[in-house]
């Protein structure tokens, strides 16, 4: 792990991990340790932000420095086994034929390549519960819509810019819709409210 630490104001450290898998490993390790005074741990594609509240940032800085200094060897057991979620998808999205045209594939091939991708939740953003799924078959890397839709229904399964996502709630959106699922990925009554967490593996299965 590279692990450059940077300060982000008085109450946060930004740790450069350089790679998503390292962000996930550090995120899991920090959560497992449950360091007192840590309020937020936010993994990103190449970083992890640690927000401290009430605790001593210097003490936490030293702890994190020790952790990232340890050479993590691939496959090293950290006691962290990411969950896997299987999502049934009705592939009848409004942009399915457009994606087929953009990629030069047939509709069936688009479905096969999307459901054949091994997705991992990279990070969440844009909206509560909106997970950026990495691992999309690169052939399906299509740009966003030029004009975003004013409303995309909750449960829409979509792709854009090399990622896939499941809309957690109805919202405006510019991603291309491949289908929909009845799997609820966001529920404020649930604990945790998001079915998809950073690192969760996701498989899409045609319904």
């Amino acid at each position: 792990m590279t692990g450059i630490l940077r300060r982000m104001g008085e109450h946060a450290l930004l740790i450069e991990t350089g790679a998503l898998a390292e962000s996930h490993r550090l995120d899991a390790e920090l959560r497992r340790l449950g360091i007192k005074g840590v309020e937020e741990i936010v993994p990103g594609p190449e970083s992890v932000l640690v927000v401290v509240s009430g605790g001593d940032l210097e003490v936490i800085w030293e702890q994190v420095e020790l952790m990232v200094g340890e050479k993590g060897t691939p496959g090293q057991a950290t006691g962290w086994e990411p969950a896997e979620v299987v999502v049934e998808v009705e592939y009848d999205g409004a942009d399915l034929t457009a994606v087929a045209e953009l990629t030069g594939l047939g509709v069936d091939e688009v479905i096969a390549r999307h459901s054949g991708s091994s997705f991992v939740v990279g990070w969440l953003g844009f909206a509560p519960g909106f997970a950026y799924l990495v691992g999309l078959d690169p052939v399906l890397a299509v740009p966003r819509l030029e004009v975003p839709r004013t409303s995309v229904p909750a449960g829409s399964v979509a792709i854009a810019g090399g990622y896939s996502a499941i809309y957690p709630a109805a919202s405006p959106g510019g991603w291309r819709l491949l289908g929909r699922t009845t799997t609820r990925v966001w529920d404020v009554e649930a604990d945790p409210p998001s079915l998809l967490q950073p690192g969760t593996r996701v498989r899409m299965v045609p319904a």
Partner: protein
Amino acid sequence: MIEVVEPGPYATVQDLGRPGYAHLGVPRSGAADLRSAALGNRLVGNPESAALVELTFGGAVLRFSRGVWIAVTGACCPVEVQGREVGMSGPVWVPANGELRVGMPSTGLRTYVAVRGGIEAERVLGSCSTDSLSGLGPRPLRRGTKLPLGKGCGTLSVDLAPVAPLQSQPVIGVLRGPRDDWFVPNALHDLCAEPYEVSSDSNRVGARLVGRRLARSRQGELPSEGMVAGAIQVPPNGQPIVFLADHPPTGGYPVIGVVRSSDLPTVAQCRPGTRIRFRLT
């Protein structure tokens, strides 16, 4: 019970927000000026976590179904209870069916109405805060909105809290980084060289500033990373944005510096047109 007779330009219920969910895409939210909100709660004997009303540009009328102690803090407004002028930053008794009128602030932007016992709005992920970015929490207040009140338990021990007035050109302390290396070497100097004006498209998400353009030395995109309130994010147009309570939990523009937490309430009180000056600390 409070009945909203008139909410003013934009009014919401706020508390300390929803910490702990940033990794799931949930903004922290909460009162934009936490200092004034906390003061209001303390003045009426509440814990600082109690929910209160955050007014933007004042202009609100609230009716109270039962007699209760309240305190008005934050942006300085004319305040009346039952047509009688009362002071800010001190506990005020509102009789049953009494009406509180908050005028337009002479300076500042956000005024808080704390009520003994706190507001008992519906909690979402542990907080009553209206999050203007994600839509979580109760809807902004409208005419006729009814807000249930909790039971007070703390003691009232202060009659008036002295509060420093908002300066006409506030000086805001900044800590450099974490991405100052994405900018030309004198960009931090440029940030502090001349005042920036708070633009009219500022909101609870961020204070958008207009002033000297901050030039980047590195092009390309920064992979998105976690953000904090007070982060000074610089989009490609070079005009900085200071993130406030409802900021997105992650962002993809480099953060040149972060506002000192003791100065963040001041930024949240800067109305459009206010000129602020940054100082590296």
